[in-house]
Symmetry: C2
């Protein structure tokens, strides 16, 4: 596996591959890899000639007071997983080199990124869109793979690619869960044993919403109440930051459900802020 910290070396290597007619897939990560990341890498491995993984804990997508300083890191373990996964190139940019003094240009998405996590975390998606734009320019892949756990992030990046005409395809892949239903996340490492015991109820509550839709009708307010009641009973340590039923493309909240609908939740559980989502109707 090649390993670079300098972006010209990455771009040169990728350009060489592409000039030989090979396709290149990029999987951008913040490291501390788990099976969710590996499922993205496996997809890229199966669909592209070359697979590039980046590890960068992007400071500009963290708000003040968030967990930037304590975000979990284990590069040696990551490297060994990436070698096993048969990745061709690992790109670990340096923060100083990523954001130079006087950095003043941002990619801002003003529609699908404003609600949900965008409302709770001001500047978060501006940081995400900007760093992904930079990674796209530095790596120049044919496609990039992201997880559907960060559904809104995926929507923002799809919109960015469409609006700014990137010649790069965005691929979204399903959430990978523990056997008990908890969506994999690097931040699950923050959970105490007691919190971890309750955490699977987050996804169970979303499944309750799907049942409620089938049994009790199409009013979003009532369906959300079912989940909130469920979490009160089974996830008393958690604090809901938001729970919304939205159009899966526009991310606009739906008052009633008659077509495609997605339930999206963010919950504070101890030190962790967990997010999850579930399609309620196709």
């Amino acid at each position: 596996m090649l390993r670079f910290e300098e972006h010209h070396a990455v771009r040169q290597t990728v350009r060489q591959w592409r000039s030989e007619g090979q396709t290149v897939g990029l999987v951008p990560t913040m490291g501390f890899l788990h099976q969710g990341h590996l499922s993205l890498i496996d997809w890229a491995r199966a669909h592209c000639d070359r697979v590039v993984v980046s590890i960068f804990v992007n400071p500009t997508q963290f708000s003040p007071g968030e967990d930037l300083a304590t975000y979990p890191v284990d590069i040696e373990r990551d490297v060994s997983l990436l070698v096993q996964a048969n990745v061709d190139l690992l790109y670990i940019p340096d923060t100083q080199e990523m954001y130079r003094p006087g950095h003043s240009t941002w990619v801002v998405e003003e529609n699908v990124g404003t609600g949900l996590c965008g409302a709770d975390r001001p500047g978060h998606f501006r940081g995400v869109a900007t760093v992904v734009c930079k990674l796209f320019h530095r790596v120049e892949p044919d496609l990039a793979v992201f997880g559907e756990k960060d559904w809104q992030q995926l929507a923002v990046l799809r919109r960015m690619v469409r609006d700014l005409d990137f010649a790069i395809q965005i691929v979204g892949r399903p959430i990978v869960r523990e056997e008990d239903g908890l969506a994999l996340s690097s931040r699950n490492a923050y959970l105490t044993p007691e919190q971890r015991d309750q955490a699977p109820a987050l996804f169970a509550g979303l499944q309750v919403m799907r049942q409620a839709l089938q049994m009790e009708g199409s009013e979003s307010a009532g369906i959300k109440q079912e989940a909130l009641r469920f979490w009160k009973r089974h996830l008393p340590l958690g604090q809901v930051e938001y729970l919304e039923i939205v159009d899966p493309e526009s991310l606009q909240p739906l008052k009633t459900i008659h077509g495609p609908a997605l339930a999206a939740v963010a919950m504070r559980l101890g030190r962790a802020r967990l997010i999850d989502n579930l399609r309620l109707m196709e």
Copy 2:
């Protein structure tokens, strides 16, 4: 000369050229071409194997109440000039195809683009940076050439390229002037004969500032007064929108001049808003 309205055709052609080892220069314009544009094209012609010119009157860089609806257009004349200039490819994108319904992603530069024209024309540089980002992604040139008359635009685009890691070089080229000193601009077409007679005093006032710096000292306030007095006498039809002496890189105003300094002015003259600039000290 090739002529495309569809961006995939442009990208495919440029990729073909570049895969053959040819270098490609882009000259983005809003059409109604004059010798200023042609000097950019000539530079690209002399330094690149292939020259692409785009013509697009970008609606998102006009503020409400500005001259978007009346911006001068003469495509037939432009085409004949471009053929004479030996341009390889003319790209005329369609507005509907450039900004799709629900467009919501913008490139925003928050430092060098905030003063001067950025203060007078809110959203102007957001529109410029966004459309140039899109053109860069659609055309994928090695370099792009812009005129120094729009000095602040050049600074914003250089910052954008640096901050977002575009693999594209920005080339700035000197202002082209009429014999009487008036900087060439498509908007000069708006001037009545009487306004046109006074217009050369705009540049003459900037030259007065350079003389004042040499004769009378380094205080910006006094030097600006000299120009304002000069314009009161020789350009009474004009209304100054701003006059600043700035650092040519950061565009921050300078109170005193001891190193690189640029005088930049915007003036309303009848229907036209004219801008000009002059280096006062290297």
